[in-house]
């Protein structure tokens, strides 16, 4: 049994955790790559990263995120940016705090510790020489959190909702990255960059043993069965989590259909013709899946009506005739 409010909070814990990791990867990549670029090149790279993270609409009203220092501040500690690492870490902490009784103590301690270490910087801008140290600290904390989740958390609905959130967010990031790469104003799809931004370069080399080419990389990121970040792997895990949640049966079918299309090569085939429309459709499908999960989780508002579902032995039935029978949670 899981409260609808808890399910919603833990789903978003998963999403924000994954978002934290993705943003840190982008920052890490930017910190290493931008130093080799001219300022006009750096500007394009920065715009691409902001686009990959889906933050164009947030960045635009804030003015220029053109410089590298602004980019780091914007992605790392800007509380006005809901996608910054600090915002995501705060969101994780807040949601874990409101579900504290059902998560492992260590999970809360790690998330709270990460937040407190971040707050130590206060409102001052992070000194550039501490960027790597900070990114390393966040990465390690994320790994510790993943460790507690995998090894210390009961495999109940709460766990499945965290996994579900992570898989959805990871899929959205991968598709966002591919979309940004295929619409790169520099006119080329940088396969190595894509692999670096998904921490998949080493895996790709081990699997294929040759220099990455765009088609191969896209194929690997969409349907690589040995890559935990591939879209197919993410959907498979999401399906697994959804299998234990009967209220989200419809979402499980949607995830399954999407995965089957990847598995059968249908999407890869279409990508070879016109990549951008296919990616756009994938993005749409994932957004639909996410909102369907959210709608299935959100508690009904106000008083129950005749259509409210009561838990009865044998499954859920509409309220009609007689009192609902209690079922031990």
């Amino acid at each position: 049994m899981i409260l609808a409010r808890h399910a919603d909070a833990l789903f978003w814990v998963g999403r924000y955790l994954e978002r934290t990791e993705a943003t840190v990867r982008c920052l890490d990549y930017a910190a290493n790559s931008i130093i080799h670029l001219r300022s006009d090149e750096a500007r394009v790279e920065i715009e691409q990263l902001v686009k990959t993270l889906g933050l164009e609409s947030v960045a635009a009203p804030l003015g220029s995120v053109a410089g590298r220092r602004q980019l780091f501040a914007f992605l790392l500690s800007d509380t006005a940016n809901p996608g910054s690492v600090l915002s995501a870490v705060s969101a994780v902490r807040e949601r874990l705090r409101s579900t504290r009784e059902r998560i492992p103590i260590e999970l809360w301690e790690e998330a709270n510790g990460l937040y407190l270490r971040f707050r130590e910087f206060g409102d001052t801008e992070l000194p550039p020489d501490r960027l790597h140290e900070t990114l390393l600290m966040v990465r390690r904390a994320c790994l510790a959190i993943s460790g507690v989740l995998n090894e210390g958390m009961r495999r109940d609905e709460g766990y499945e909702f965290i996994v579900l959130g992570r898989m959805i967010e990871r899929s959205v990031f991968t598709v966002g990255l591919l979309t940004a790469s295929y619409s790169d104003p520099r006119g080329t799809v940088d396969a190595t960059r894509i692999l670096r931004l998904t921490s998949s370069l080493q895996a790709y080399h081990r699997r294929y043993g040759h220099a990455p080419d765009p088609e191969g990389v896209v194929r690997y990121l969409l349907a690589g069965t040995d890559l935990p970040r591939s879209l197919q792997s993410c959907l498979l895990r999401a399906e697994g989590s959804l299998a234990g949640i009967s209220a989200l049966d419809r979402s499980r079918r949607r995830a399954g259909l999407l995965r089957a299309r990847l598995e059968l090569g249908e999407i890869e085939e279409a990508m070879a013709q016109e990549p951008l429309p296919v990616l756009s459709e994938l993005h749409w499908d994932l957004a639909e899946l996410a909102s369907e999960i959210a709608a299935g989780v959100v508690p009904p508002l106000g008083f129950p009506t005749a259509s409210s579902r009561y838990l009865r032995p044998g499954g859920t039935q509409p309220l009609a005739g007689g009192r609902p029978v209690r079922l031990d949670p």
Binding site: M1, R100, G113, F303, P304, S308
Partner: protein, 491 residues
């Protein structure tokens, strides 16, 4: 027999002078009381640097776990790390036995009083033990609770009884807390932190464990299920993450293995309470609520409450759910009713109180009022409707203007005040960042009642951080101490 006071060179206890009133650790001649002898020796071996290091270890542990409390009087409500002093309070098995019996007796009488009152019988009132006008004028008296069936007559399922020790070392009850007493989570976390940072302190003692509280509480709450059903669905109801005691609410739900719900997670339909889950609505049998009566049900009480559950009172009346502590307990822990508790013990149980009250003047009695007003500068003035130490005036520390203002306030509304003799709270060595000095302490033991009554070993020892201060409330800058109840062979 007391042993001689160890005088280790450079130790934290060098130059220690027992405080005013009863010093729990030392005899008046400066020698350590036998129960504290080994702890005193251990602290004599510490220096200030080491003690500061240990304190930091404990504070870091609390910070990491987010063990904080909120001080509302400060701007915007500040989150503070829970303060704990390293020097523990020790209670011998013999002493504990008496306390345990006294507390059980007191809570039993208070439960009898509430059951008597809200069943509509009102025997204690009819027999003149407590004045009717006093009861019905109490802010804690809840007419809506009349006639609601409470399993086992257990209205106070979780009681926190504040006790102090007078000059002679006798325990006395200072205050009853029968609505939503908080602090138990800090008792357990204090022990966990002390065991990590100062495990060596425990080596010479056998201390009763405290981690069983969740099991005890769950069993008491389960026994409150309507109809005595097996495996009832228990939840903890919290106002939410912005409440000062949210940490405790989450702690309790976790240690019992039950859900922590907010008002919006529950719904009442057809006279029963349900939790909104992703699978639909699931019936709830017992609600351990950490929300005051007035906010529980916006239909029956404050309509502006967004914390409660609309229709909950109806479900209570229908007998489909139990709310713990019961509705309307505030009448029994009203400070104006407190002076009558010893008589209630005699009336319901036929026994003499094992733990006395602090001597209290009731201001609605003209003779007692005249006597108290004549020597207000020697007494403590308390408003009956406040808690947490707010509004308390300590006569010997008050200015003439403050005393005059108190006199006027008492004359204007005698029902609203009680006046007590100053109890020079007992003291214990406490770390001042340089050395150990005496600081005043009180004790809040917790008494759980369901089908039967159990006293949780120890309780929350609160300590005043300033020398000579009698204010121990954490909201007013007080700290806490780990409280050890020793097993018989070590006492």
């Amino acid at each position: 027999m007391a042993d001689s006071l160890p005088k280790p060179g450079g130790g934290l206890l060098d130059g220690y002078e027992p405080g005013r009133g009863f010093d729990e650790a030392f005899e008046s001649d400066g020698s350590a009381r036998s129960v504290y002898r080994r702890i005193v020796e251990r602290f004599g071996e510490l220096d200030a640097d080491e003690a500061r290091r240990l304190e930091r270890l404990v504070a870091d542990e609390f910070r990491r776990q987010g063990i904080t409390f909120t001080v509302y009087s400060e701007e915007e409500g500040t989150e503070r790390i829970w303060p704990i002093d390293l020097f523990p309070r020790l209670i011998s098995a013999l002493e504990w036995d008496e306390l345990e019996r006294g507390l059980t007796q007191r809570v039993a009488a208070l439960n009898c009083f509430l059951a008597d009152l809200y069943s509509g019988e009102g025997a204690a009132i009819a027999d003149g033990i407590v004045p009717r006008w006093l009861v019905v004028s109490s802010g804690g008296f809840e007419r809506n609770a009349m006639g609601i069936a409470v399993p086992h007559g257990a209205h106070c399922n979780i009681a926190g009884i504040d006790v102090v020790r007078d000059d002679a070392g006798r325990y006395r009850v200072l205050e009853d807390n029968l609505r939503n007493p908080s602090g138990i989570s800090y008792v357990i976390e204090n022990r966990a932190a002390m065991a990590k940072a100062c495990s060596w302190l425990f080596y010479d003692h056998a201390v009763q464990p405290v981690e069983q509280y969740g099991r005890m509480l769950r069993s008491a709450l389960e026994s409150m299920a309507p109809g005595g059903q097996e495996s009832p669905h228990v939840v903890v109801l919290t106002p939410g993450i912005f409440n000062a005691a949210y940490f405790e609410h989450a702690f309790l739900a976790r240690s019992m293995g039950v859900e922590l719900v907010e008002g919006r997670d529950l719904v009442v339909d057809d006279g029963a309470v349900y939790a909104r889950t992703i699978e639909g609505l699931i019936a709830v049998d017992v609600i351990y609520r950490r929300i005051d009566d007035a906010f529980l049900d916006p239909v029956a009480f404050r309509p502006d409450s967004t914390l409660g559950v609309p229709g909950l009172l109806g479900a209570l009346r229908a007998g489909t759910v139990s709310v713990c502590n019961a509705l309307g307990n505030g009448v029994a822990d009203d400070k104006a009713v407190y002076p009558y508790v010893p008589d209630l013990i005699r009336y319901y149980l036929g026994d003499e109180p094992i733990i006395d009250n602090v001597f209290t003047y009731v201001m609605w009695d003209p003779d007692q009022r005249a006597e108290a007003l004549g020597r207000l500068d020697e007494l403590v003035v308390k408003p009956v409707g406040e808690s947490g130490g707010y509004g308390v005036l300590i006569g010997p520390h008050a200015s003439d203007e403050e005393l005059e203002a108190a006199r006027r306030a008492i004359d204007a509304d005698p029902r609203n005040w009680i006046v007590q003799e100053v109890v020079q709270l007992s003291s214990l060595p406490s770390f001042t960042q340089e050395r150990l000095e005496p600081r005043h302490v009180d004790l809040r033991p917790f008494v759980l009642t369901g089908e039967r009554t159990e006293v949780f070993p120890g309780g929350l020892t609160r300590v005043a951080m300033r020398r000579g201060s009698l204010i121990v409330n954490s909201s007013q800058g007080g700290g806490s101490k780990d409280t050890w109840v020793l097993t018989p062979e070590y006492s």
